[in-house]
């Protein structure tokens, strides 16, 4: 599987004066991979590295098996992108993008793009600068899926959208994934989007990957133990990943929820969730 990864970060480093990214991450064919973490964790830096927008300071970064810096325009035609802090020129109208996209992407489907713009209520005659954040994101997602790319790199694609638009957009991305061999790398600060959507999830914090897990395993086998000080003292801590001090005692994150359910029936065990995971993994041990 190693060579077949569409996107492969191997010890990729990017050093800034006050921040360092050091990432190992893979996006396998047919996978939707989520990258989660708090603001400033390094998600956008990782995305920009993959797209060759910033120069890396070490490691190996491959896209479609090629070093990222050697990507030709023909390779880039095979990637669809949404960037959190960037987009189409605000001085243009959507209808003016049509000939631009047609020339940039030979596989661009003009009719389908127009149809999707209509479905998502994107006005063709209005300048993009007058769009809301949510509309700009929708437009970028529609452009990303409009040319048959096999890899989507989506940085906060649902930011600024209401719940209906988010649901519609995730449905669109699920439709996109119906074709074999396609993959998505996605980040979002809305954990429920990722829980129901991603096959596997990477948790990033302060530039480092803290955890990589299949989403099903994360939701089914991870759990949060709520224990008193006495219960904590008696607890088998072999499968405790993180501990947080609370008013009532401790919250403990485990990836062996079943073990504690069977051996400690008296303690309260909450289902694992991405939000809890972020909160627990980002804190220091008690």
């Amino acid at each position: 599987m190693i060579e077949s990864a569409l996107l492969d970060f191997e010890n990729v480093r990017k050093v800034y004066k006050d921040f360092e990214l050091h990432v190992n991450l893979k996006v396998e064919p047919g996978y939707i991979t989520g990258l989660i973490g708090p603001n400033g964790a390094g998600k956008t830096t990782a995305f920009k590295s993959a797209l060759g927008l910033i120069h890396t300071d070490g490691g190996r970064l491959k896209v479609f098996g090629k070093p990222a810096e050697e990507l030709a325009p023909s390779d880039r035609e095979n990637i669809g992108v949404v960037l959190a802090d960037s987009g189409f020129s605000s001085a243009l109208k959507v209808k003016e993008l049509l000939p631009v996209l047609s020339h940039l992407y030979p596989a661009f489907s003009r009719q389908e793009f127009i149809r999707q713009c209509d479905r998502f209520e994107i006005p063709m005659e209005k300048k993009i600068g007058q769009f809301s954040t949510g509309m700009k994101r929708k437009l970028q997602v529609l452009a990303a899926v409009s040319h048959g790319a096999s890899l989507l790199i989506l940085d906060e694609p649902t930011a600024g959208m209401d719940v209906i638009a988010r649901d519609q957009l995730l449905s669109l991305l699920r439709e996109y994934m119906e074709t074999d061999g396609r993959s998505i790398l996605i980040s979002s600060h809305i954990s429920s989007d990722l829980e129901g959507f991603c096959d596997d999830i990477y948790l990033i914090h302060e530039g480092k990957i803290l955890l990589h897990e299949e989403t099903d395993r994360l939701l089914n086998q991870y759990g949060l133990l709520k224990v008193t000080k006495e219960q904590y003292a008696a607890l088998d801590q072999r499968y405790i990943l993180k501990t947080r001090k609370e008013g009532f005692g401790y919250s403990c994150l485990t990836d062996q929820k079943q073990f504690y359910m069977e051996n400690y029936p008296q303690i309260i065990i909450e289902r694992g969730s991405i939000d809890e995971l972020i909160l627990m993994m980002n804190r220091r041990d008690a």
Binding site: L51, A72, I79, V81, D85, S89, P99, V100, L104, I153
Partner: protein, 218 residues
């Protein structure tokens, strides 16, 4: 490259107000003044500002990051900007030439074709020098900081020109000497020299921009 070219044409098209304003000012000058040389220089140089605005539009709100995530290479982008800028300047220069020529005919102002040709050459030379300076500055500093950097570069160019004029004075090379030298070369020779200078300056500027864009992070 074609996609970027279309995008730039769309961006220019959306600046109709700017085009109308400088067009109206140009026409007013043509009506008020008998001598078309100033109108000619004004219109040609002002219109050469427009291709530079496409760089600023690309860069605004971090838009360049998204642009370079599309199938657009950094070198391809720079090459497109240089081709678009010189193409736009030459085409608008030709249009201005026609308009000014027409204005002269309407006003029955006698002007030699050679004189008009020299005016065109001088105006385009200023435009080429401006583009060759402004494009790398814009690429290096982006739309925000390039205003300050551009002002510094323009001041430097002025100092160089002023220093050159002073140097000629110190070497006792006056206007007459230059005119005699120009006459000995002939109109075709001057045009040839000017066009060679354009190619050299523009080419060096393009190479500098290739290096600058390769280093830039978005």
């Amino acid at each position: 490259m074609t996609g970027c070219l279309i995008k730039d044409l769309m961006l220019i098209k959306n600046q109709k107000q700017f085009l109308v304003i400088i067009g109206v000012i140009g026409l007013m000058m043509l009506i008020i003044y008998d001598n078309p040389s100033f109108v000619f220089g004004y219109l040609t140089v002002m219109l050469s500002f427009l291709p530079i605005t496409t760089l600023a539009y690309d860069d605004a709100e971090n838009g360049a990051a998204y642009l370079f995530s599309l199938p657009v290479t950094r070198r391809g982008y720079v090459a497109e900007k240089y081709l678009f800028s010189i193409g736009f300047t030459l085409v608008t220069g030709a249009v201005v030439y026609g308009v000014v020529w027409g204005g002269c005919l309407l006003k029955r102002y006698s002007i030699q074709a050679e004189e008009m040709g020299m005016l065109l050459l001088a105006s385009l030379s200023i435009s080429v020098l401006f583009l060759a300076t402004a494009i790398p500055v814009q690429i290096r500093f982006g739309s925000e900081r390039s205003r300050i950097a551009g002002a510094i570069v323009m001041c430097s160019l002025f100092v160089i020109c002023y220093g050159g004029a002073r140097l000629l004075g110190a070497l006792s090379i006056d206007e007459e000497t230059l005119e005699r030298a120009a006459a000995s070369i002939g109109t075709a020779g001057i045009a040839g020299l000017a066009i060679t200078a354009w190619i050299v300056i523009y080419g060096i500027s393009c190479l500098v921009s290739f290096r600058l864009i390769a280093k830039r992070e978005f």
